[in-house]
């Protein structure tokens, strides 16, 4: 038994907690899928398929658990190149739903873009850990951003905006973890905020003042600061002109369509309205397992994957949602603990990267169901139905377990 414990947990006390949380999430997901399947015990139901994927993923998890951290560290470039090349494979296959995201393996689809996320994190972690002495220098940020840009650009062409954005999610937390200067990080996100703020005069003015204060607080050459400050302001001022005048309506629509190939033809607002009605009508305690009228009447679209949280909200109420949010919180916190306690710098960085990915999935998916974000097909880790992503979650889990065993 101690051998088994050692094999699974290594020497890390937090892994046990992690596995308990993951099992709870999976069980929660399965119970929900059982409730919405018309014929849950038939082999084609989402419940049974999910069960099969989980068993398969567990198998992969145990196999990957054999791999040593050093192997991952030393081969990180190779892992990245392979994942990168794998993303080209779908372009040679017949498109699935007009996109080149999937490879059909017969029994299920895999999405190479998902695995590129992991590979990108590992490569960035290796770079940052090898250049630890230089992290205080501003230029350290360029290589990680270039790596993320490269991956993101490839995925964007599949096209898959969701994954392309998620690839960037780990960059900032990882650099923060590595100890990159706070002001440098601020400079990185400032232009994005500027563009978003440019949509409203009032917000843009507040942002201008705020940015000025931050610039003054930090030390550095005055000339550089003034230059960057005005570059930001000009970007913000010019963007509306570019968007409104330089592009005509048709081009704008094309751009939006390109970014959202899976936008529902009936209009995504229909989905959101149905989702919010389902959630709201669940109330404090929910309508009961299998009793959600919105869900069961099939008003709610893609309920087994994108909108599974809405099903939980309708059938188990706010208590159900609070329970699952608590589990998500504990999942991320445990991962942060593992990263913090990790004895090795590279491992710690990779875990932070993986944690960011899991968290961004959780956040974007939940925010979508309650109308805080546009509809984007990002599944919820360990809960949503779907083979490729479930497998990825287990691969990430095995990476965490490997990296923390030192």
């Amino acid at each position: 038994m101690s051998f088994f414990n050692n094999y699974i947990y290594g020497s890390n006390e937090y892994l046990g907690r992690l596995y308990l949380i993951v099992s709870s999430l999976i069980t929660f997901g399965l119970i929900t899928l059982y409730s919405i399947s018309t014929d849950p015990l038939s082999i084609s139901s989402s419940f049974m398929r999910q069960l099969i994927f989980i068993i398969f993923s567990l198998f992969v998890f145990f196999v990957l658990n054999q791999i040593n951290v050093k192997t991952i560290h030393d081969n990180s470039t190779l892992i990245y190149i392979i994942s990168f090349l794998l993303c080209f494979v779908p372009f040679f296959l017949t498109p699935v739903e007009n996109t080149y995201r999937w490879i059909d393996l017969g029994f299920f689809y895999i999405q190479p873009g998902e695995y590129l996320k992991c590979a990108t994190i590992i490569l960035i972690a290796k770079y940052l850990s090898n250049h630890q002495l230089e992290v205080k220098e501003g230029y350290i940020v360029f290589i990680p951003i270039l790596i993320a840009l490269l991956s993101s650009f490839l995925v964007l062409n599949q096209p898959d905006l969701g994954t392309a954005v998620i690839i960037f999610a780990p960059v900032l937390p990882m650099m923060l973890w590595a100890g990159v200067n706070g002001f440098t990080l601020f400079l990185l996100i400032a232009p994005a905020i500027t563009i978003i703020a440019a949509s409203n005069n009032m917000i843009f003015n507040i942002w201008g003042v705020l940015m000025f204060i931050i610039f003054m607080t930090f030390q550095g050459s005055l000339f550089k600061k003034v230059l960057i400050y005005f570059a930001n302001i000009f970007t913000g001022l010019l963007f509306p002109f570019f968007w409104n005048d330089f592009l005509n309506g048709y081009q704008r629509q094309r751009f939006i369509d390109f970014l959202n190939p899976d936008l529902d033809p009936m209009g995504s607002s229909y989905h959101i309205i149905q989702s919010i009605t389902a959630i709201g009508s669940g109330g404090m305690f929910g309508k009961g397992w299998g009793q959600g009228s919105q869900t069961q009447l099939k008003f709610l679209p893609v309920q087994e994957s994108d909108f599974i949280l809405s099903v939980i909200a309708e059938e188990f109420g706010f208590f159900g949602i609070a329970a699952i949010m608590f589990l998500f919180f504990m999942l991320i916190k445990t991962l942060l603990d593992i990263a913090f306690k990790s004895s090795d710098y590279f491992s710690s960085l990779v875990i932070i990267g993986l944690t960011s990915i899991l968290f961004s999935h959780i956040f974007v998916n939940s925010a979508m169901t309650i109308g805080l974000m546009p509809v984007k097909g990002l599944p919820t880790p360990f809960v949503s139905a779907g083979g490729s992503f479930m497998l990825l979650c287990f691969i990430m889990l095995s990476l965490v377990s490997n990296l923390s065993k030192n």
């Binding site: 018309t38 209009g267 709201g280 109330g283 008003f299 949010m325 913090f340 004895s343 710098y345 968290f359």
Partner: protein, 588 residues
């Protein structure tokens, strides 16, 4: 273990934890707002005004013949559905339905189980409701909560072509088949799908595109209001115009009354099939409404196999028409001078053998050259000459003419038949159980292990009629004309064979003289194919020019007797249809 030690800063840890807590609290507060503070609003919205997206339908495309005669159209019927969660007393309610419709409770329960899609979705339990039944259901509305009747289109076949296999039929979809179908068509259990024949082949074109309609419903699923915003209209399927001439089809069908067999007529230039009869057949109306299991098992166990479309799925020995394959080999490879004559004494004894092979004409044909051998179908001529050909060359020629290959007509489930080659004989008879010379004596007569479909035979005659540049056979009149791979033979080869085929019908002593016509030149070849099932099959394959177009025909009478005596006169009648001599019969 690795080189560099982790120096994670507690400040960074706290920053990330802070972001996490903030995000989760933002999400939770929004959920709390929706679920607890705004609960009343959304709860009543979900109860009173649920918007249900409901599929709407449009008619399936019609099937027309080449002259625009409607062969298959739609016919409105009413079906009864039940929504499980709205039932208040299933047994009692089923009893009422059983009383009204005379369907037993057991049968109703069986269908309820079979088509069940979920507690909240309507399940079909009865079809073809009469108006009397509908009005009784309407009268007892209050006792029958959860039951609804709906319009449902079925296929109606024109009386002229009620039994044409190639039309195919529709079938109700069950849940198990759906995962294997095209997802973009949004199939649902209980809907109809083309399952055989042209209905299957052209399913995508014929099928309507489904629409979506949003309806406000209350908690009991009752419709309150239709919302016209965002509706997607349903579009009807496209009509399918066939190359079939229904008059000719009916006329040909009448020629086969009381006979088993096949009549095929095609336009050689376009590949259009004008008539495709397979007899015996069965009434396609059997697929409408309720078909009892005993009707089905009678149909399936019938020894005459009415359910099979013999044109594409019946396999027969071709008989003497395959002598032409030998002739092609002989002339094209210069193995003999077609003008040379052999002596047919009525029998042939192969060198080194003691077996006697007889000609069908007991006292012999006398001196026979190639032309006469084809015209009078002399066995002895081909026994002797086939000895000059290698088995591999012979089978290759047969395959060039499309045998043991699909004709690729636009119908599903076509069989390819069999052209036995060396490998086949070794597998079947052992390495020493056969000889090349021996089997060729059989093959040259189109006997012994050769199996062809009548449609392949039509393709074969079309290849000859078009001298190797042949349009692909098709049933869809609007399908673009495509061609089979060209068959490149010398002009002189085609001339010899075609002259022979002319003499079959038109010369003195030609085996197909009974098909001879005064107004058009008919070319053809009779076959009398021996088979283990009784009398020989009678074949006639031929072609003729009429008003600038070339037409071809294949007549097969299963176990009918001699090709010359039985099939040729039928072929003659078909040609007469074209030359209008038979117009009054057609219009009867």
């Amino acid at each position: 273990m690795l080189k560099i030690e982790n120096k994670a800063d507690i400040f960074h840890y706290r920053t990330l934890l802070f972001v996490l807590v903030l995000s989760i609290l933002t999400l939770l507060s929004r959920y709390f707002y929706l679920q607890v503070i705004e609960y009343e609003r959304y709860s009543s919205k979900s109860q009173v005004n649920s918007v249900r997206a409901q599929a709407t339908y449009a008619p399936r495309g019609l099937i027309l013949d080449r002259n625009g005669v409607v062969l298959v159209e739609n016919y409105p019927t009413y079906i009864l559905t039940v929504t499980p969660y709205e039932l208040d007393n299933k047994e009692a309610q089923f009893q009422i339905i059983s009383d009204i419709t005379n369907i037993s409770i057991d049968e109703l329960s069986r269908r309820y189980k079979k088509y069940y899609q979920g507690r909240f979705l309507p399940t079909v339990i009865a079809k073809n409701l009469t108006f009397a039944e509908i009005s009784q259901i309407e009268e007892r509305r209050l006792e029958l909560s959860g039951f609804q009747y709906k319009r449902f289109d079925e296929r109606l076949y024109n009386d002229v072509l009620k039994d044409a296999h190639f039309l195919g039929y529709l079938r109700e979809l069950d849940r198990e088949s759906i995962p294997f179908l095209d997802k973009s068509q949004l199939y649902r259990a209980g809907e109809l799908i083309g399952w055989q024949g042209l209905e299957k082949q052209y399913e995508t074109e014929l099928r309507y595109s489904k629409g979506i309609e949003y309806i406000e419903v209350d908690t009991y699923g009752r419709e309150i209001n239709t919302i016209n915003e965002n509706n997607i209209p349903a579009y009807p399927g496209k009509n399918l115009t066939l190359s079939i001439d229904s008059k000719l089809q009916k006329f040909s069908k009448n020629l086969l009354i009381d006979k088993k067999g096949v009549i095929l007529v095609s336009n050689v230039d376009s590949g259009d099939i004008l008539s495709m009869v397979s007899n015996p057949s069965y009434n396609l109306d059997i697929y409408r409404g309720e078909t009892t299991d005993s009707d089905w098992s009678n149909l399936l166990s019938d020894e005459d196999k009415p359910i099979i479309n013999r044109n594409i799925a019946g396999l027969y020995p071709p008989g003497s028409s395959f002598k032409i394959i030998t002739a092609f080999n002989l002339i094209e490879d210069g193995l003999l001078d077609p003008e040379d004559s052999l002596m047919c004494t009525g029998s042939y004894i192969p060198p080194g053998s003691s077996n006697t092979f007889n000609c069908w004409k007991g006292d012999g044909h006398g001196l026979v050259d190639l032309n006469k051998a084809i015209a009078q179908s002399c066995n002895v001529y081909f026994y002797e000459t086939v000895q000059l050909i290698k088995l591999a060359d012979w089978t290759k020629t047969a395959k060039i003419f499309g045998f043991q290959n699909k004709t690729n007509i636009d119908l599903p489930n076509e069989l390819i038949g069999q052209i036995p080659d060396k490998e086949f004989f070794i597998n079947t008879y052992g390495r020493w159980g056969w000889s090349e010379r021996g089997v060729l004596l059989n093959l040259t007569l189109g006997q012994g292990d050769i199996l062809v479909t009548p449609l392949q035979s039509l393709r074969y005659i079309n290849h000859i009629a078009s001298r190797g540049k042949t349009a692909k056979l098709k049933l869809n009149a609007n399908k673009k004309v495509e061609y089979y791979d060209d068959i490149l033979l010398a002009d002189q080869t085609w001339d010899r064979v075609i002259n022979g085929l002319y003499d079959v019908v038109n010369s003195e002593g030609g085996s197909g003289w009974r098909a001879k016509q005064s107004k058009v030149k008919l070319y053809g070849k009779t076959s009398t194919a021996e088979n283990p099932h009784g009398e020989p099959h009678a074949w006639f394959n031929g072609f003729f020019d009429f008003e600038g177009q070339t037409y071809s025909l294949v007549v097969l009478v299963e176990n009918g007797g001699g090709g010359g005596a039985v099939a040729s006169p039928i072929a003659g009648e078909i040609v007469k249809f074209f030359t209008s001599e038979q117009i009054e019969i057609v219009n009867k």
